[in-house]
Symmetry: C2
């Protein structure tokens, strides 16, 4: 791969080929600059096998918008299109189209309205609406999905791990099993979704936070191989990091070797005026070993030392560990809540691969096309599966909060429907024959969810600061019914259409099936 | 994220933080330049739930080695290390270490011996051995794993999909659900592992192959919304791509609308001297719809037109579709083998996420350290789980072929053991008390598997050409017992240690447990 080819990978050709062939077909038909609208949404929450999520946390938008600011058809990309040949040896892309791309092949004509990154989002609700010239909005489909689906999947899993950890720190350790360069997006999403820190050095630094790490088994192995033993390995490591010394205690044997050796080294650190930071356990029965290690540390007077647990953790494993500690710790004279309050969780593989459900089925669907005179014609895709029929047309998306102040429904309305001015709202399920009426007196707040985040070639949502995104998530989670937050078998959050939106959807389906 | 921070992401700091803290500890102890050896291997084949793989296809090495050629601690990275602070506000990395990195912080002292990319590889066998200065070899761990595990996982899944497809073309379509920028590595691995083409335009072009694509539902939706209908959408698309026109027929209704409309447009193409390429079906009962579509196409005289199937395909779904076609096609007057010979499979999400087992547990373990006088001291990590004990020491890896010429065992030997000169070999299971003796007269060929692929800062395995890698895979698969290739419940391939290697492993475990 040459440097030029390497440049291609991060550029505007990082899309599915059919977006380019469709774009040329639109251009050929005079439709390349016709305004169109696409919605990005997912149809169902990740289902990890035994435990489906009740909500997602959206992530990826910041990097997507940065990419959109710079991605364009430059000479390198255009040359690649010129050189593509059909099986018959003819040019696949003609000069007229390439000239058009040369002039219009960027995202400056596109606007993106979106639910900001870090917020709680729900199935079937447009997380983003992309509006702009049909050809470029079509080419954007693949990069949009590629930069949104995976991050949202990981942010969602991270939020669940953080919920399971009951507020204790959660560290992201997934790079070694993560998806090659996509691991950076995964680490970033984990930090937005719930992880406090990451071991990914470059990514952490790029977001302005401290990368975290202890040491690996190999450190102990080196000193063992050189005949110096585990304690000496700990001692040498502690000498370099006396104030942030977390020792990995399971290279030889956790309870008979690792913890006793760590305690000796901690005593030496303390004698020199330092405060030992922690131990890490990376194998075995983590709950049992944490209890026994805590008992040993407590007897030695190291009640404040953290206990970092890692080894294929995810939200259910964390939940199980905490439940087991609550049940078992008292039997060994260890106070369960004190122990829990010193735990730190390192989550890696299962987080960055979203073990149990490794993909988010987010889609980018055409919902409206300009009729050529400035009016939107709503578009629909009929499907054998009613659950796949999208919400058509130009729309607004609202979140309703109930009398307790908790989010009770996300509602898609026609763009001219002003929900706050309604007396009541008839809410219809997006796909099923379910209907309920809400009196607006029961509603404490109506929030419009979309913000203009991209316009005239620039991201317009300001700095996508990690702290801001995390605060959005925390605020949204606090406004979510505990039943929806639940890790297993959550309540299904209400996502609804207004009466007029439902009628539009029904009319379009009927017309499409009649072949109109 | 500024441009400088963006540069960090692809650089040498794309590693776990603890590699850096360990490297400084080694430097502090005079061990930074001590020679060490790490093996990269995985302990178990991907297990997709109902069907564990019997082999893997290795991928990722080419891009890893390219990265190693250029990654180094430049001023930007060193400045980041200088600015890191401990919780007490002290410098985490001291000037002496940073000076050392400035002089020695690249991979020019590292050699990599590896099984070349594209080959069939097995559990516990070192796919690669990294030798070099301890600090830099340690820092390499995370990038090595990050650039090897995910590609090997995807290449393996692709190989299985290709096996299931009985030689029919398999196209990789996964970018939209793939792991952000890691999708490029996924597409590349898919192409090495078994996919014939990819929809990922930039990646395909960077490897010198034609990107593939048809069109999306949105194309039909646009013309439907503008009142022109599906047939007109097909007609306009066909006009632009008359010689590679594959039409997506399931936007309205596959059998009553899509296929009949496609047939009309194919007739028009034919009348103008063009050969229609195919139809694509992306939803519903793919086997049933393929049969009915084939019947309609056959009656219209389009027996040669391809039928592309997509929609959450993987190896088992492909297998099931082919089985169902064989059982059902005759009932509808369709010849099953003719139908199968016109099929093309588009696999996406389930391939690039390795649905069922989304991570490969590849590890990078210290196996030897220089004693300071040029001799290797073997290293081991004892574990509560015997299956996790690595194969220690400096070693050679052989593949033995039986009298049929098929691969029968991969064998790890001490570096001074010359297997081809043996009369017989006693083979021991890496972890269990299993032993068998092979007479060398039963062995038709002994192949040493590792090649020197990186030396003196340069990749030395020549051009990692896609064709070469694909040929390796195909050759290796043909030399694999059909029982090991089987998609479900495969035979377990023999991976063994020689007598002396087994003895070394036992001795080291015993010594480690005795605390020596």
């Amino acid at each position: 791969m040459t440097a030029i080819e390497n440049d291609l990978l991060g550029g505007v050709l990082a899309t599915d080929q059919y977006q380019l062939t469709m774009a040329q077909a639109y251009w050929k038909d005079g439709l390349a600059e016709r305004r169109a609208q696409f919605d990005y949404f997912f149809r169902s929450y990740p289902d990890y096998g035994t435990h489906q999520a009740g909500y997602c946390v959206t992530a990826g938008l910041g990097w997507l918008l940065e990419w959109m600011e710079t991605a364009r058809f430059g000479e390198g990309e255009l040359e690649q299109l010129r050189s593509q040949r059909t099986p018959e040896g003819r040019r696949r892309f003609e000069d007229g189209f390439i000239d058009w791309l040369s002039a219009h092949g960027d995202f400056s004509g596109i606007t993106v309205d979106a639910i900001p990154e870090g917020r709680v989002v729900h199935a079937n609700v447009p997380i983003a609406t992309v509006t702009g010239p049909l050809a470029m909005a079509q080419i954007l489909e693949t990069p949009f999905l590629n930069r949104s689906n995976y991050p949202t999947l990981v942010a969602t899993k991270a939020s669940r791990a953080k919920e399971a950890a009951r507020g204790r720190p959660v560290l992201e350790f997934g790079m070694r099993r993560g998806p090659e360069s996509g691991s950076d997006a995964g680490s970033r999403a984990a930090l937005i979704g719930g992880c406090d820190f990451s071991s990914n050095t470059a990514l952490s630094l790029s977001l302005g936070i401290d990368p975290k790490g202890t040491h690996a088994h190999s450190l102990v192995q080196v000193y063992l191989a050189l005949g110096m033993g585990e304690k000496e390995a700990f001692r040498r490591f502690a000498a370099v990091y006396p104030d942030e010394c977390t020792l990995l205690v399971d290279t030889v044997d956790t309870l008979t070797s690792g913890v006793p050796n760590a305690i000796e080294v901690f005593r030496e650190l303390e004698a020199e005026g330092h405060e030992p930071a922690g131990i890490r356990i990376d194998s075995g029965d983590l709950a049992y070993l944490a209890i026994q290690a805590a008992a040993q540390l407590d007897s030695a007077g190291f009640e404040q030392v953290s206990i970092v647990l890692s080894s294929d953790l995810d939200e259910l494993v964390i939940w199980q560990i905490l439940s087991q500690i609550e049940a078992e710790a008292p039997r060994y004279g260890v106070d369960a809540s004190s122990l829990i309050s010193r735990l730190v969780f390192g989550v890696g593989t299962r987080l960055v691969t979203s073990e149990g459900d490794p993909s988010l089925g987010g889609v980018y669907k055409l919902v409206a096309v300009d009729d050529g005179h400035g009016d939107w014609v709503p578009a629909i895709k009929v499907s054998e599966d009613a659950e796949k029929i999208p919400i058509p047309g130009d729309k607004k998306v609202y979140r309703l909060y109930d009398e307790r102040g908790l989010a009770t429904a996300d509602v898609a309305a026609l763009v001219d429907e002003d929900l706050p001015s309604f007396d009541h709202i008839d809410l219809f399920h997006p796909h099923r024959e379910l209907h309920r009426r809400i009196d607006m007196s029961e509603i404490s707040r109506v929030e419009e969810l979309h913000r203009r985040v991209f316009d005239a070639g620039q991201a317009t949502n300001g700095e996508a600061d990690l702290d801001v995104m995390r605060k959005r998530r925390i605020a949204d989670l606090e406004l979510l019914d505990p039943g929806v937050r639940r890790l297993v078998n959550p309540h299904v959050y209400h996502v609804s259409l207004t009466n007029r939106m439902k009628q539009l959807q029904r009319d379009l389906v009927a017309r499409a099936l009649n072949g109109d």
